[in-house]
Amino acid sequence: MSAPIASSQKLQKAQKIEIYSRFPRIPALHFAVYVGLGALLIASIGQVSPSPERLWDGIPRIFNLMDRMLPPETDPAFLVRMGWRLLETLQIAIAGTVFGVILSLPIAWLSARRISPLPFGSFLFKGLVSLFRTIPDLVWALIFVVTVGLGAVAGTMTIVVDTIGFCGRFFAEAMEDSDQEPQVALDAIGASKFSILMSVVLPDAMPSLINTTLFALEKAIRSSVVLGLVGAGGIGQELKSAFDLFQYHKASAIILSIFVIVLIMEWITDRLREKVK
């Protein structure tokens, strides 16, 4: 209690009573909900979390796997092939990001509140972007592998859709956040929505658009690496077949190269971001 000890007994008593009466009484319904949620949580932990025994058993197997992976494969012919696969991965990421950003710009414009030339239709494009965003990239990859076949094209299309889901939203937000007052002035002069976009909205939002694009590129590189696991081209495909064929030395070489390439790309995008600032 924060009340000074020197204060009179009466006062302390009064404060005590007040504290008791302030103690929240949980309504029965809420209490029942809390208990239910607690039970659900405990049951879920039991079913999907690793138990201590299983973790313990797993440790030697991890060391065993690492032992079989080392040293990484260094056969020149293999490394050259992996180099080409890495290049393909980067191409998927970059081409997908570029097309995705190009498509995101008009979609963001159409969906941005107050800035869209469509008075009521903007929610339609907002919905489309949410749909693209909420479906995970591996699911998109599976869909495109089924529709356009195995390989890099499916991967690129996945990155395009993924980029629209990401950039479509953040581009629209950057446009909505752009300086309001000159837009009103242009509106009052009789400028078209397109003129307003070109002369105020885009220049004002540009730093944010570039930043978002760089994040999208980083994201695209990470996902282009894993898309191959479901057959959508790139280095991931090699990784999967190396594991499938128990070629652990090759697998470790691939993982190392992925690590290096992601690191390099992050370094590059960080430098670019600094330049934008």
């Binding site: 300086d179 002035a185 009052a188 002069i189 078209s192 397109f194 003129s195 070109m198 220049p203």
Partner: protein
């Protein structure tokens, strides 16, 4: 002649502008006064069609403005220039480009995108800047100017629109007395030399009295007074500004005294 007939604008339950009828002959300088929230800004926005009326019509020289759409609406807006309290310039753009933006409604998609303006338009912009004494800053970024300078650039932008009407929404509310005087002088000169109708919303009664041919006083969305400045009686002022009406009026006169002192001591840049 601007004819406003039974115009009304409601926001939910609120009548921001309530059944206003006004006839404003071309070439007048009209001051719109009233307390904050009286509906002054909404009235100007309705004329420019930044806001659409709930009911009623506005017509200008026989054209029904409230029915315009598409390109006709854009051309109407261009001919009805607007000045704002916060200047509303594109701050990162230079002064000359900001003024040229006044021509934007006369350009199509492509040329507005490439900001291709003709030589005549550039000359027009320079002349407009000269009139408000801002030629020297033509290539400076608008954001680096003082408030008073930005407002003068906004007036130059309005001039290149070749407007028939100039609507100014509290153009001096953010300015110090010296700059306020300059801006009001500019508006008055444009009104008298170019014959452009000017509607200016003002907080201060005395500024309206000093500059305007006619005063329109609003309260709660309605027009309470419409006539020459000298006809505005104390009772009416009390009605318009509420309980503290006369005191406010006296307060305003203090401000306006300082305006006059500033204008006489200042190297007053008259606009040609």
């Amino acid at each position: 002649m601007l004819q406003i007939s039974k115009i009304r604008k409601t926001f939910g339950e609120l009548h921001a502008v309530n059944n206003v009828t006004l006839n404003i002959p071309s070439g007048q300088m009209v001051g719109v006064i009233g307390r904050s929230g009286a509906g002054k800004s909404t009235l100007l926005r309705l004329i420019n069609r930044l806001a659409d009326p709930t009911s009623g019509t506005i017509s200008f020289d026989g054209t029904n403005v409230t029915e315009l759409k598409g390109r006709d609406l854009r051309l109407w807006r261009a001919s009805c220039a607007m000045i704002f309290q916060q200047f509303n310039l594109i701050e990162r753009m230079d002064v000359l480009s900001n003024v040229l933006v006044g021509r934007i409604a006369h350009h199509d998609f492509v040329s507005s995108m490439l900001r291709q303006y003709t030589d005549e338009e550039r000359a027009l912009a320079i002349r407009a800047l000269d009139r408000v004494g801002m030629v020297q800053q033509a290539l400076q970024r608008a954001g680096t100017l003082s408030g008073g300078q930005q407002q003068r650039v906004a007036i130059a932008k309005a001039l290149v629109q070749n407007p028939k009407i100039l609507l100014a929404d509290e153009p001096i509310a953010s300015l110090d007395p010296a700059n306020a005087t300059r801006v009001m002088d500019s508006l008055r000169t444009i009104n008298q030399n170019d014959g452009i109708t000017v509607l200016v919303n003002l907080h201060t009664l005395d500024t309206a009295r000093k500059y305007c041919d006619r005063i329109i006083a609003m309260r709660a969305g309605e027009v309470r007074f419409n006539g020459a400045a000298h006809e505005l009686s104390n009772d009416l002022v009390r009605d318009i500004y509420g309980e503290a009406g006369l005191e406010t009026g006296i307060d305003e006169s203090v401000t306006s005294t300082s305006i006059e002192e500033a204008s006489s001591s200042n190297d007053n840049q008259q606009i040609a």
